[in-house]
């Protein structure tokens, strides 16, 4: 078969198949993040398991880093709390502004003069 004929042949063969795989993780781009999603992200909760070393024999370094996180947990919680407070307040303000803009736009459309005849 010539390379230029392969795609058409593959499409025809695929069209005859009705097999499917079980649903699993599927990557999709996030085009526009919803306010609800932003709220979820704003409440920061770093997973301690993500603290690790990227070095080849980094297990002891990972252990030491996690110990450090453990020792500093009171301070880190304070940081998270302050950051989350800021994030959520900004988001609430943003959501309110979005609502306000939408209401103003609706009101503006309702007041718009009729088209001249």
């Amino acid at each position: 078969m010539k390379p230029d004929e392969a795609l058409a042949a593959a499409r025809a063969a695929a069209a005859k198949r009705d097999d499917d795989l079980p649903a699993g993780m599927s990557i999709a781009p996030t085009e526009r993040v919803s306010i609800e999603q932003l709220m979820e992200w704003a409440n920061i909760e770093p997973d301690p398991d993500l603290m690790r070393s990227t070095r080849r024999f980094g297990a002891p370094i990972t252990w030491a880093k996690r110990q450090l996180v453990h020792v500093l947990r009171q301070y880190l919680r304070e940081l998270q709390s302050q950051q989350t407070r800021f994030n959520l307040n900004v988001l609430i303000r943003l959501a309110e502004l979005e609502d306000r803009v939408a209401r103003l736009e609706e009101r503006g459309q309702a007041r718009a003069p009729a088209e001249p005849r």
């Binding site: 010539k2 499409r11 795989l21 699993g24 993780m25 990557i27 781009p29 070095r55 080849r56």
Partner: protein
Amino acid sequence: MNVHQILSGAGPYDAVTTQALAFRDLFGGWGWGGRDVAAEIDPRIGDRIAPLRVLHPRDGDVLLVHYSAYAPKLRGVLDLPQRKLLISHNITPARWFWDHDPQAAVVCALGRKQLPQFAAAADVAAGVSLYNAREFGSETVIPILFDPAGLGAPRDEEQPASWTVPERPTVLFVGRLAPHKRQDAVIRAFELYRRRHAPGARLVLVGAPINWAYDAAMRELAEELSPGNVTIESGLTREQLAARWRSAHAFVCLSEHEGFCIPLLEAFHFGVPVIARAVGGVPEVAGDAALLLDERDGESVAAELLALAVADGELRAELRRRGAARIAAYAPQRTARTLREALESLA
């Protein structure tokens, strides 16, 4: 002549760092001097790349800025009086990262926003592909310097007439384990192929993960869909990578965004048939030497193309012949000449 290379970040498995080091070898061969510096340095890179603060160019020196990510520290470079060549190495759109690596998403979003400013401040702004260059309105291309000699010899030539389908075909994808590379789709396409055509097939995914969590998610998916048939590897030496290529029967790339895609050229070098989604710089680099899917083609079509690419000896031979022509089109001597002309035009 002194050419100083400036990178956003430098790391041992980073394609841009590898490129900058290859350029430095070229410059050395041409009798040129200069330093290579980066705003962020992975300690594993050693002392070949110095911190940005040591950069003190003299009058008449040329600055080569490799732009691959948002780097506010590089802004100061734009104010230097020396003439500048900017090479954009492609920045993935942030939409692929928000869900999986927010920090990377921020860096990509800001990087894509900042790129036109850098391009405007450079005397010459180039992309590694025309696709990349056009993102900021340029038509200048300085491709990736690809030297197949460093990968070792390709495997022995196959004879189309006597080609028999291997019992355990190996499907390969090489590329960072990242959302836009769509390894999830590769796993699905592979599993469809395996179930329909080759129960003994195996898939090898080579590439460093963007983070631990994403790596774990991909391994879980592989285990769920095709238990025991998928291997995920990273941190391979050059020799190990070459061994993976030599044992591969097809290369499948279902990336949704690629600026250049060096593994295409690696596949052509090793004579491995390529199935790829026609996005970004892929059609430009692959030319007519790959089996390209368009946006309406799903994993089922990719699986059928894979079956053809593995089983059809005549098809494999023709793809190999066309792939060799693409390797010639990206010969390192040609790229080196293009780079040298661009830099000398600034001296």
